[in-house]
Every structure is written in structure tokens, then in C-alpha cells.
Symmetry: D2
Subunit: 303 residues, 4 copies
């Protein structure tokens, strides 16, 4: 896709945002109380599933791994009477290419602005004064829909570099007998987590399956509330000349759609298949990191 | 309470655990699929509320504050074409006396063992090989119940050092017309978060309201699945001779009840009052920290 | 001192810098090879002393304490044959009000520039592309001189808020029979480390002894190479209207004098007194932190 | 070398330690005040050189890279009047396979003890109560000697896996006309830093040049005070059956010799060659990390 075509697509999607100049929640506005309450009705089997992967160690896709160190061990002499504790400390980057996380709307700057015209200067060394992850403090609670592209194609996973088109999303809907609609939290599975588990990690920053930018126009029509993947939704290399992460730009900066990156669906998948159902109650609960550009998350799917 | 009485109470509660020696999930077993599905029915208004407080900065109750530092600013020249990013890094202790978190069952050692007889040596400098927070990877999803003790007493908050007895929990149930039952995620509000907001932080490690150890016998009978508070559920100073955190010992080590510490209920409270209802769907989603002793969390209450 | 007087002093000191517009080492240029070799002649007793304090824990002057956590314990089963290791991890702020550190020349911006007209934009979220601590990678090696102000005054320490004037520096030189000269690394003791040891920590950010700005003109004439203190050389509150850290501005930004903050002289002091000598070989070895604004250090004094 | 031969060598070297059971400084005792003062006489040219490499980023030899993040930028609005600051934060492992550091004597446990019979339990999750790096708080100041093995062999660097024998150390002394003696801080260059600079990083944990264990007997006779290298002094794979780091065991645990790992000599080397001299004043200044197993360092060589 040429730079000019991308810009035209971007500008069109941006103009369609109906929330007004003061909005800071973007597509989460699509989740009305009615839709949220209806989504709760998906939790009929009473079973919950993690959509996150465990904190990863050093690997080709994880050059700055998060670390969890012990501060105190229960086998050692206690420092208070009668009881001893185990405690630890956490050091981790919020983004990156392997740990499951959510991007705040301040994460992406394009054409000199963040989402909804907010100036990049709203993010300083002290954090984001606007569009931070704190704006999602009440969580994302809505109907989750999982579209399984490898299932549609009859393969185990998409190869790095491959693209999912709007047409393919529509085909997956048809095959799975599900319709993506307003306020849905859409998950598009490309099978990268399974590929990583079976073949080992690779440098996903250089080579990664994701959505074609055109698919974002389709999803804008469907009025999704948020978008997640077991990749980061963007292919690598980019299919757009001169724009490295076109889906990030369209989703976060133009449409105000929060992205959920590097999730895993391998636990949920067999349950969906057994139930013959690809919708569920979904709850995403970012940490309350004031000024934060995102958060590590463990999205929960409830069937 | 004497050391001997405490030990007797401990041993009795520990003997009552029905899950067998191999169990690692403790009271979460009380949440059956049926109870989970029923809990989803609480989400009728379609509104969600955070039960976490924002990451706190340095204060008398926060001697080792978590830090969130910027790694990249969107106003700076991008390192990839056409788009620039804001990104940050997180350093934080998992426990402590102010940030909202969940304690894993490996967190407490008493009388030479962790929960269910697991030896403390299962926790090394490399983390917990048993009873880590990874055992809660699918989240805690169930009916949440909020008992508001300051409301019962007609005050704004309990003063540090005060105790909530079993009788008072029963009185709160009666006053709020709610019955705590099997599989519930119980939240006991002592008002400490409000006190902190209004009077400023104090050294809560030295002086804190919480539950009386006797209340744990009451909650064991009720078969709660997990217990949270806007304190850490334990009073300071301890009311038990020679045991610093008796409620931690009883809940985590004897009963296998995960504790949720230093939550905030100030957002949820007005909604409960307006709805005249103190039950809700509750989702707690710990990060997947392999070997971890707990996790920062943002529990979500859905009315 | 009025803002205008300060500005005049600043501009005069800045104009006196003789090193040319491309210089990035500032007053360290005063240490010629001859002076360095001569300084080595101070090491006659063959005894070395630390001028750093141990990494501090949380205290009123240390709201974000550095942390050192164990990664591996020698008593645990080894992960390689025949040997086991102890290892740890370090998390610490480079500056702050208690841990001994050196300020790089990029640390201070005044009047829209860093030292020698370098624009503040040279420091981004990726670090300092100019004037970073890497410019001191070969260490500061020269003659150290300790001026002991409490000794001059016959007291144990200066009280927080007190000022050391140029005249008092001259009086200390006379009393100690030492002459501060070109290329010296000057240490001015105000006794704050002793006060902290004996009375306990206080909020030194609010109340601190240091040099009067006029003293910097005196030290510019003497052509010192670097300046250290057991405070941070600046008084609090500031004696200059509208400028919070006037000595930092004059030393680092105008004169290119690296500052060494929050050192301790209590180990060195008795040795100097016993030797009747206040000069020594001094070696400061900052870590090689590319782009860094400073470094934790342990300056060594060799008598 | 067989496990039994190694054990015999170990036991012999350990028995030779003359400092008594209470000693915690090991071979640093060889640096008498006279030797230190004499070493200062090496600083005749008045030039200093770093022996450290810059903090490394992620690479095959650096799976958990240290990070330096900005906390404050000078181009942003100041939070105090009239001046703005650049500040940063440091997160780094103390050991590892690329960043220059010193190992404390608590770092190595062999045969159930640390150096001089100290039990491994002296190191807990709270740090080392004995043999920590704080014991080196006054720095290591002595005569440095650089033996350049690639120079002796007429090559650019030793290949990973190669060994330096006692005979080769003696040959290097002869070729460089220098005699290693009591109290010297010995640096053995294998050229790995140059190899890394020119060929790029490799997985040095698997493949690394170092000393043969026999060389340690030679160095014990010479009574060196400390030992450094641009490797970590141990070959990989190990030449001893069943013992992964034999030189670490002999140096640190048996002889009480502090090791300086992953230094760089590329700056010093041309100056030594030009001066025709391989001795210098050496100053190593570890950070004061209470309980620490070592410290990042920037050793300074002064010619």
C-alpha cells in the first residue's frame, strides 16, 4: 500500500470517530451498559480461561526480558514473630514483542498527534497527562469474539509476514457462524503463540503475521471496542510504504481502538471448539499505572 | 488471643480443608462452574468498577515505591518510519502496604510449612515451584460481596488498630440484607483507603484495622473463595501473642484463601448504595508471573 | 542574592571558561598530566579510604531507595556442576539526596542551555548524546583537598540551611595550612553525614547546608577540577531568589565543574588529622553508563 | 583435569592461605601500605585509562541487559524554580557475561563452603552477612600488571575455548620484561573484548578463553592480590570434569582472590606499548552495596 493510500485511509477512519474532541476513551464508548450486561450472558458454562502467556525469559523476541526477583524467602528466619513470608519484586517493560499487554491510546503518535488531536507533548518523562492507561481503570468488560484464521485456512498457524484481509475476517465469521458487532472485543488468532511453543521463538520484530490495514476499515464499520491478537496485529515487514506499524496507527491513533498484544488463545481454543461457540464474556483489567502507556494484562475469557 | 488459642484455632481450620493433600488452589475450589455462571447474573446494570488504587508514590506507608519510567517519548524523532511511540518500564514490589495486590498461597509460612503441608523450600531464589500465583492464571471469577463496616457503625472509617469481629460481619450481613455464601469473593471495607485520601498516609505497618482471627472461623463456615480489604485484613498491632499476621496465617496457610490487599471501594460504594445491592460479578486477573508470590491486580466489580 | 545578581555572576563565570565551544570535559581540563603525576606523590602512607556512604534504605531523605535483590543463593542446588553462586541485581536512581554519586555535565539546564551552550534537546528519553558521564570514563584522578568547615568553626556539623562563604573557604585553607590550586578535586565537609549518623536522617531536600554562590567565584579563580561535599554543595532553601540550585547552575552549567554529592568523610578525617595533612591522591571512577546523567561512585582517597 | 586432581589442587591452595580463620579480605592482604605507596610511583606519565566496557545492550552474551532509563529531561518544564535537571535510573545485574564487574568473596560456594570456611547460609535473600563487597569499600589500590597473551602468541585474540597455562604466563612475563609479584593486581588479556568488537558478540557462556586451573598455583606462589581479565578468567567449556568454573573456585573460594570479569584493555594497550611498560597504578572502586555479591566497576589504570 502506498503512503498516500494509507494516509487517505487513515484520514477517513479518523473522521468517522463520533465521540467529539474531548473524548479520551475511543472505541470503548461502543460498550454501552446494555451491551455489557448482555455480554455477561455469555458466561453460561461457568469456566474461565487466561488469554495471557507467562512472563517470558530472554529469547530472540525478548531482548529486555522482564524479571521477577525474590525479596524474601519463607525458609529463612522471619523478621516478625511467628510467621515468615515469601515476597518478590517485578521489573518489566510494558510493551515489547512477547509479554501480553495492552496499549494505551497515548502509545502511538502519527502525523504529529496522538488520538483525537492530542499533542505528543502530553507525554513527558513524567508520563502521559492524557490518554494514559488510567483511562481504562474500570477495565474492559464486554463480549469477546475469537476469529481463528489458521482454522479457516486449515493450517496450524500463519507464517511470519502473512496478512489477514478484511475478506478473510468475513470468511472466518461465516465459517464460525458468528457476527462481529458493536462493542465487541475482537480477538484475531494467527497462531503465532502456538508456532512459538512448537518451533521456538524467532525475531518477531522482523517477521510477523498480522492484519492488512484494509481490515481496519472493516472493523471500524463493525464498531469493535478493542482488538487483540496472539501477534501484535501488525505484520512485519509492513505492507505500507514508509509507515512501520500501520494497524497500530489506524487502530490506536485514528480509531481510538485499544490493542491487546501477544496474547495466547491455546487454552481457550479447545473449549470454544467443544462448546461450538466463539463468543464469551471478556474482562481485561489493566494495572492502575498513572501516566502509563499501557499495562501488562491477563485478559480473562469466561464461557 | 494467646499463642496457644491461636494455634488451636489454626489447627482446627487447617483440618477442615477438604481438598486433599495434592490441592494447590485452596478455597478457590469453592467456585464451581454453577456458582461462576450464577455470579455472571449479577452483571445486570452493565457497569464496571475498579477495586484497585493507582500505583502509589513514596509515603509513610510506601517506603519502596513502585516506579514507572518512560523508555520512549512520542515527541522525539521516531526510530521506525512514519510513526513514533510512547513506552515505559515498570519496577515494583509485589507486596507492600499500599499498592493493590493479591497474595499467592506460597506467600505465608507458619509452623514450618506453607499451605497444605508444602515445605518452605519449595520457594527458592528462583521463585515458588509450588503454590505460585500462576495457579490462579485463569483468574478469580465469582460473586463479589462487599461488607461495609464503617456503614454499619455509622462512621467514616475504622481507626487504625481496630478489629472487625465475626459478630460484626454477621451484623453487616443483616444490615445490608446479604448473605455471604460458598464460593463468594468477600470484600470487607474498613475505610482505610478513604482515611488515607482524606487525612493522608500513615505508617500502616504499625497501625491498621483488620479482622479478628475469630472472624476467620466464621468465614471458613461460609466457605468463601477469597478475601479482600482496603486494609490487608490483618490488624496492627496483632491481637495474637507471638504471631504477627494471624489472619494471613489462617487465611492463606491454613484455609488456602487468597488475600487481596489494599484495595479501594470508594468508586464501587456509591453504585452499590444507589442500586441497594452489595453483590456483583467480580473478576480478579493476576499477571502470569511464573514462580511469583503474588501479583499487582486491578479487581473489577461488575454490577 | 537577587535573581539579577545571580545572573550577572553566572554570566561572568561562564565567560571565563577557556576551553572553546567544542569542549565537553569542562574543568577536568585543569588536570594536566603533570598535575596528575604530582598528585600520585600524595600517596605516601599507602592507605586508602572510601569517600562514599553505603547504599541507603528508605528514609526521609530517600523516598525512592535503591534496591539490591538476590538472584541466586549459594546454599541452593547449583545449576552448573560442582559449584554454586551468589548473585544479585541492582535497581537505583543515579541522583537523589543520600546515595553518593557524581553529576555529569548534562545534569543541569539553565537559561535554555546545558554546559557550554549545548541544547537541552541533546538529552532525550534515550539518554544524553552529549555531556554524558561517559565523558569521564577514564576517571577523575588528581590531588584531593579536604576543607573541614565544622573543624574551622569548632562544631560537630553545620546545621541544615547554613552557608559556607568564600571567606570561610579561605579561612579553612589558612587553618589547615593548605592551598587549593589548579586541578584540585576539592571536598568541602559540612558535617551532614555525621549529623545523619548521629541524629538520624531528615528531609535534606528542604533543609541543607552548602556553599554560598559567591564561593563559586573563589573556586573558579582557584581553577578546581571538581567539587564534592557530604551535602550536595547547594543550600536548601536556596539563597538566590528564583533559582533553586544556584551552586549546581554555576558549577555544572557555567563552569563545567562536575559535582560529587552526598559523600562521607568520616573514615578519611581521622587519618588526615593524624597525618596533619589534608591532601591526598583522589580517584573517582564513574560507571560507564552510555548517555548517563551521572553515576553512583565510590571515590577513593589515598594518603 | 579429573575431579580428583582438581580437588587435590583446591585443597592445597586453600591450605596455603595464611590469614587465619577470621580473615574476610583474602589476597587483598598482600597489598601492604608499602606496596601501595610504591605502586603510586607507577603514575609517572600522568595519564589514566578505563579498564571497563560501556554498559552493554541485549546480545547473545547479554540475555538480561542492564537498563538506564530517564527519569527527567532538561528540555521539559522544571519542577523547581530557574533550573531543570536530567536524571536517570539504573537497573542491572551485578554479574553476567559482558558488563565489567568485580566478584565479592561470597560469590562462590564449593564443597559446602564459601571462602575460608564461611557457610553458604551467610548469604540469604537479604544479602551476604559476610564476605560481601562492602569488605572492599576502601577500594583495591595497588600495582597493576597486564600480561598480553595474544601479543605473546602473535595473534589478535585467543579463540573461545582456549586455555592460558602457567607456562604461558611465565613466557608473557619474560617477553614483556615484567615480573608479577606480591600484592599485584594481575590482568590477563585474552583479547575477547577485541574479538567482540570486531566479530560481534557470541554466546560466551558456552565458549570462552581463560586460564588453566594449574595457572592458579603459579599465581598463588606469586601472591597476587586480585585477578582480572577481558574474559571471566574461566574457560568454557570447563577443562575440569564435574566442576563448571574451576578458576572461580580456586581464586575466590580457595585463595580469596577477587576476580574482575569482562574488563577491556583496548584503551590501555597502546599506551603500554608506547611506554614500553606493562605496570601501572591500579584503582578499583566497587560501589558500597551492603550485602552485595559484587559490583559493577570501572577500574582505572594510571601510567
Amino acid at each position: 500500500m502506498s503512503t498516500a493510500s494509507f494516509r487517505a485511509l487513515h484520514d477517513r477512519l479518523r473522521r468517522q470517530v463520533p465521540w467529539g474532541t474531548g473524548d479520551r476513551r475511543g472505541a470503548l464508548n461502543h460498550i454501552s451498559p446494555e451491551r455489557l450486561a448482555a455480554a455477561a450472558g455469555e458466561a453460561r458454562l461457568g469456566r474461565s480461561f487466561t488469554l495471557a502467556a507467562p512472563l517470558a525469559s530472554s529469547a530472540p523476541d525478548n531482548p529486555e526480558p522482564g524479571m521477577r526477583h525474590m525479596k524474601r524467602l519463607p525458609g529463612e528466619p522471619p523478621d516478625v514473630p511467628g510467621v515468615s513470608f515469601a515476597a518478590d519484586q517485578l521489573v518489566m517493560n510494558v510493551h515489547g514483542d512477547v509479554d501480553s499487554h495492552i496499549d494505551a491510546l497515548c502509545h502511538v503518535s502519527y502525523d504529529g498527534t496522538l488520538y483525537n488531536g492530542v499533542r505528543p507533548g502530553a507525554v513527558t518523562s513524567q508520563g502521559a497527562s492524557e490518554l494514559s492507561i488510567e483511562d481504562v481503570r474500570n477495565g474492559i468488560v464486554g463480549r469477546g469474539v475469537l476469529l481463528d484464521i489458521p482454522r479457516l485456512r486449515g493450517i496450524r498457524w500463519l507464517e511470519p509476514g502473512e496478512c489477514v484481509s478484511a475478506a478473510e475476517l468475513a470468511a472466518a465469521e461465516a465459517a464460525q457462524q458468528v457476527q462481529v458487532g458493536p462493542g465487541d472485543v475482537l480477538f484475531v488468532r494467527v497462531g503465532h503463540r502456538r508456532r512459538r511453543d512448537e518451533l521456538g521463538p524467532w525475531d518477531v520484530a522482523q517477521s510477523r503475521a498480522g492484519l492488512h490495514p484494509d481490515a481496519m476499515a472493516y472493523l471500524a464499520e463493525r464498531q469493535i471496542a478493542a482488538l487483540g491478537s496472539d501477534s501484535n496485529s501488525d505484520t512485519a515487514p509492513s505492507v505500507v510504504e514508509g509507515v512501520a506499524f500501520p494497524v497500530h496507527v489506524l487502530a490506536i491513533q485514528a480509531m481510538g481502538v485499544h490493542l491487546l498484544d501477544y496474547l495466547q488463545f491455546e487454552d481457550l481454543l479447545p473449549a470454544c471448539e467443544a462448546a461450538g461457540r466463539w463468543t464469551f464474556l471478556c474482562v481485561v483489567a489493566p494495572l492502575r499505572l498513572r501516566g502509563g502507556t499501557g499495562s501488562p494484562v491477563n485478559p480473562i475469557a469466561i464461557l
